[in-house]
Symmetry: C2
Subunit: 344 residues, 2 copies
């Protein structure tokens, strides 16, 4: 049995309708909503076939059909219709971008908020991954005896800080000296290579402080990739509006999954090779997202993939709109970040 044109049309109509209503859709409903001119009986026959092929499922004998994950997969692979941002959507986005913007992270946070407001799903953004960026400045600021704050600034305009231990006899001047030396020597090095370079080139120069430098490097590296707080959510509560989460139990597991930021971060990292990804229901490895779909987009600066953001919603999410919105936001985001960071 093959998927002929009619079966596809019917399947599509069912998916469209189900996305809209969240209710199992029957043969009559389809005919009306999609203006298909076959009789309900014919449609029923086709639906039985589609079920046998695994594209549809029936919650119980006397209910309509709901699309399976396999159906959504087909839908997004073959039936997607991309559009741009609507005027209203662009306006919302602009609104967020017009407000105080004081760095990449705040742009990204605003992006998350806009995304969740526009789509009414849960939005998630990954903060830029420092590993691919280049060092612009390292500053060690003395705090108290034995403690200092290390601040790293990258070419992407991202700063990260951490309290570190320093030898008790280290002076402010010495810290300043180390800061300057490292900054000069490693200027424009990728964060991943700062450590090597330091060991090779500076070792001799600052030899007396070898031990300290080693721990410092370890901290810098750790700091650069620190996964905590590397992912920001917005609109998690939107999920509660959907009938699939009217059961508080389900809503709670969803929120628990999301509060587990690490897992989501890993997911986005994996997605960061691809310009777009769509992961449907059971395709999600992450436990607790099996009833969700995740759509991601990766933004770039100077043609380097920079970070990933996305939308999480029920499997019956409006893929057309979500993909359109993500694409639009991706463009907006790219151009804003570009204006921050144009190569000089």
């Amino acid at each position: 049995m093959e998927l002929d044109e009619r079966k596809l049309q019917i399947l599509r109509a069912i998916i469209d309708e189900y996305i809209l209503s969240a209710n199992p859709v029957g043969s009559k409903a389809i005919r009306q909503s999609a203006e298909l001119n076959w009789s309900p009986a014919t449609i029923r026959n086709e639906m039985a076939d589609l079920e046998a092929l695994g594209y549809l499922a029936q919650p119980h004998t006397s209910a309509g059909r709901i699309p399976s994950d396999k159906a959504y997969r087909l839908y997004v692979d073959q039936m997607l219709q991309r559009a741009g941002l609507s005027e209203r959507e662009q306006a919302i986005l602009d609104g967020y971008y017009r407000s105080r913007i004081d760095g990449i992270e705040s742009v990204l946070r605003s992006t998350a908020k806009a995304l969740s407001e526009i789509t009414h799903y849960t939005a998630v953004v990954m903060m830029p991954d420092m590993a691919v960026n280049r060092l612009r400045h390292l500053q060690l600021v003395p705090l108290s005896e034995g403690k200092a704050l290390s601040v790293i600034v990258t070419d992407a305009g991202v700063a990260r800080d951490a309290v570190i231990d320093i030898p008790r006899d280290m002076t402010a001047a010495e810290l300043e000296d180390i800061s300057r030396t490292i900054t000069q020597r490693c200027y424009n090095c990728r964060m991943t290579t700062v450590a090597e370079r330091l060991v090779h080139e500076i070792g001799a120069e600052l030899q007396s402080r070898g031990d300290f430098l080693k721990t410092l490097l370890a901290r810098v590296e750790e700091n650069a990739q620190s996964g905590t707080n590397m992912v920001e959510f917005s609109g998690t509560r939107n999920m509660l509006r959907f009938p699939e989460y009217s059961d508080v139990e389900k809503a709670t597991t969803f929120l628990a999954t999301v509060e587990q930021r690490d897992a989501i971060y890993q997911m986005l990292r994996k997605a960061s090779d691809m310009e777009f990804t769509i992961t449907i229901g059971s395709e999600n490895e992450q436990e607790g997202l099996q009833d969700c779909s995740v759509v991601t987009a990766t933004y770039r600066v100077n043609d380097m993939p920079f970070g990933t953001f996305g939308v999480i919603g029920p499997t019956r999410m409006d893929y057309n709109r979500v993909i359109s919105v993500l694409q639009g936001v991706q463009q907006n985001l790219t151009s804003i970040l570009q204006s921050f960071l144009k190569e000089d």
Copy 2:
């Protein structure tokens, strides 16, 4: 009609029971659970009195009584029994504090997580308010033509950064120069006075860049108090577990209120005068928290109030435990921060 000893005992028993069960409590239930030796009839009479006095309410004629906000107020004012952290609770807290700690903000985030795990309510922490802190370092790092990143470090070990516009002809050396000058001149000034001082003392020195300095100052000031992301929540989903939020509608409004971070931030700021505050139900000004109670504690470093954290839960929260936990956490937090930042 007065509140004699018996009425108080009964009221207390009702509150204790209601906190535990969330169900209206009747005259029999009380007698059993609290081992009060009056007959149900007597207790009923007293309950009628307590209702007349406004301490109890009846959802409907044939139900038990539930405590009013007024009752909780009496309860927390007169009947609170503080205890320390239990061993289990201290262990949870230690667990969070043992993990990567790379600065005040991460300590605070861990605190929020621990608090929500320990209490099973929603925890909230306010990030330290820079206004009271002193400048340790200001660094301007060039990013691209016309853009730089300004980084401020305070004596509290907190760094804030913002992308700023700079004159197109400004060189890296000049930026470095300005950074050094400001750092030297304003070292250990309160953030609130940095602006003044700059205008008075440095104006002459860096006069040619007067305009730039003015905008820079404005940005610094704005940056120091920037309210965004100044408050961190943990365990908002815990609220869904409580029967008072089994209605998805209510849960949604709660989450919406919380996602409105500004309002909560203002609330915590107001609470930051007091070592502890307890705000019960309708006492909350914030719309959407009328069915919640908020308990806050303020942590100090070097005897300066530094920031505030707290717990949000249903009005029938376990005030005894929450206050005990907050007190314990406050002590732990104070000693950790002190170790970071001891005056030198």
